[in-house]
């Protein structure tokens, strides 16, 4: 059974066309009538408007597994639920309406915190993107909310005129316009769904803590796989380049030389990814300076020094290589950490632009100088030019 919602297909057609112009692309592989209800639909709620799927407030093993998969892969891009209206418990005309995104992780987070309540859940089509990002893009926005309220006939279902939105939907939703166009007051609830019971108990009032975003280590930790894995995808290419550089000898490409000279650099490369994509995000509040480029550079420098100390001359058989190790690799870590600004809850575009203005020339200069030094090392190694 599909959630209560009427004109869905035409809306999707429009959505798909605006992005890529691929008007012939199928809208959805799922047809409303041939799909089995998802396992988290546990019944039906009879309403004056028809049947509304009743959803479970308990996450199953499959839900948690899906959450993990969406944290580590592109699986999250397709991890979505159908937009429309759902019921939690046995809601009546007075039950509150909670609005959510159709990214299943957002939807799951909401429903598991509605346990024991009778409520309506209105899911918007945010194209499978979480609340905050979708609000930033405008897909969790005034237009979609107004359209969804009208499409579901919500006004005929509830006697009150209040929608409770996640606070982080506010960058996309203009509450006054929602009120003017639908009659519903869009009220921004707590940031975290976990605070909903306390929020309701307080008469729909937020404490300052409920309205504030933090970035504790747990939240940073779950984001690190998507920093590490994309970087590791480039690792085979990097590895090949390292082996080529060290294997290239006057006699041709020698495997023994490639390995004996190359493995310390493979280790350093992996450690540098770890420094930029894991260490720096995890130690974010402890690393000095506010600039992410500097934080990442410090984590990378510490890692390069540790690796250099551990491996000694196996890593740096020539002074030129020492310079490369302590110049290039901390810059690489810095670049990787700078990417994490896109995942944090407190960095801003003006700041990242400012950082890039300073950092990009340094990155490019460092890379060019390192290439030059690598050339010097190779010439010295081949005995053509000694320093």
């Amino acid at each position: 059974m599909q959630p209560l919602d009427l004109p869905k297909a035409p809306a999707r057609r429009q959505d798909a066309a605006t992005c890529c112009g691929a008007s012939s692309a199928p809208l959805s592989s799922r047809h409303p009538d041939d799909a089995l209800p998802p396992p988290w639909v546990v019944g039906e709620q009879q309403t004056p408007l028809g049947q509304v799927p009743r959803i479970s407030t308990v996450l199953t093993r499959a839900d948690w597994l899906g959450a993990i998969r969406s944290r580590i892969s592109a699986f999250r891009m397709a991890y979505r639920v159908s937009a429309g209206l759902y019921a939690v418990g046995s809601p009546g005309a007075n039950a509150e309406v909670f609005v959510s995104a159709n990214y299943k992780l957002s939807f799951d987070e909401l429903r598991r915190h509605l346990a024991g309540l009778d409520a309506w859940v209105l899911v918007l089509d945010t194209r499978g993107i979480n609340v905050w990002c979708a609000a930033g893009k405008g897909t969790f926005g005034t237009e979609e909310l107004v359209r969804r309220v009208q499409a579901t006939g919500l006004a005929g279902l509830v006697s009150h005129r209040r929608l409770i939105l996640p606070q982080l939907a506010a960058p996309g939703v203009k509450a006054r316009e929602v009120k003017a166009r639908t009659g519903f007051i869009a009220q921004f609830g707590p940031v975290r769904a976990a605070d909903i019971p306390a929020y309701l108990a307080a008469g729909c009032r937020k404490t300052p803590a409920m309205a504030t975003v933090h970035f504790p280590w747990r939240d940073r930790l779950v984001l690190t796989p998507m920093e590490i894995l994309p970087a590791m995808k480039l690792f085979p290419l990097y590895g090949l380049a390292v082996l080529l550089v060290f294997g290239l000898q006057p006699q041709g490409i020698l495997f023994a030389a490639a390995w004996s000279g190359g493995w310390p650099f493979l280790l350093l490369g992996a450690a540098t990814i770890g420094a930029g994509a894991f260490l720096a995000p995890m130690l974010l509040p402890l690393l000095p300076f506010r600039s992410f480029a500097v934080k990442g550079w410090l984590a990378g420098l510490a890692t390069a020094v540790a690796t250099g100390t551990l491996l000694g001359e196996r890593l740096t058989p020539h002074p030129a290589l020492s310079v490369v190790v302590y110049l290039l690799y901390p810059l690489l870590a810095s670049y990787i950490t700078l990417q994490f600004t896109g995942s944090t809850t407190f960095t801003h575009m003006s700041g990242v632009k400012k950082e890039l203005r300073y950092a990009l020339p340094v990155y490019l200069g460092g890379a060019a100088l390192s290439a030059l030094l690598l050339g010097t090392f190779k010439l010295a190694e081949w005995g053509i030019w000694s320093s």
Binding site: R12, D15, T18, C19, C20, A22, A25, P26, L27, S28, S29, M77, A78, R127, G128, I129, W132, C133, A135, G136, K137, Q167, L168, A170, P171, G172, V173, K174, A175, R176, F188, V191, K206, A211, T212, V213, F215, L284, P285, R290, S291, F292, L338, Q339, T341, G342, T344, T345, F346, T347, H348, M349, S350, G351, V352, K353, K354, E355, L356, L360
Partner: protein
Amino acid sequence: MRYLSNTVSLRFDAGGCTGCGSCLEVCPHNVFARQGQRVALAARDNCMECGACALNCPTGAIQVKAGVGCAYAIIRGILTGSEPSCDCSPPAGPTASPCC
């Protein structure tokens, strides 16, 4: 945790404030604080330029250049000469290909 100081594009016109408190309700970083009948800018550097306050301010007293704070998106924006956007997700429909 705070990001770079004196960098955000947030502008607040205290004279245009009616004290409705919309910004207090939507700001996730306590940038504003109530001050008597009106609202004052309390911690400008806490701002992350999400744009929620400006969108919901009824008098236009708040202005901010909202945008994504993602380095990769900004670099791509510089290279393509467009505004940074994180539009990397595929559009609706599981078979459609990603845009970018």
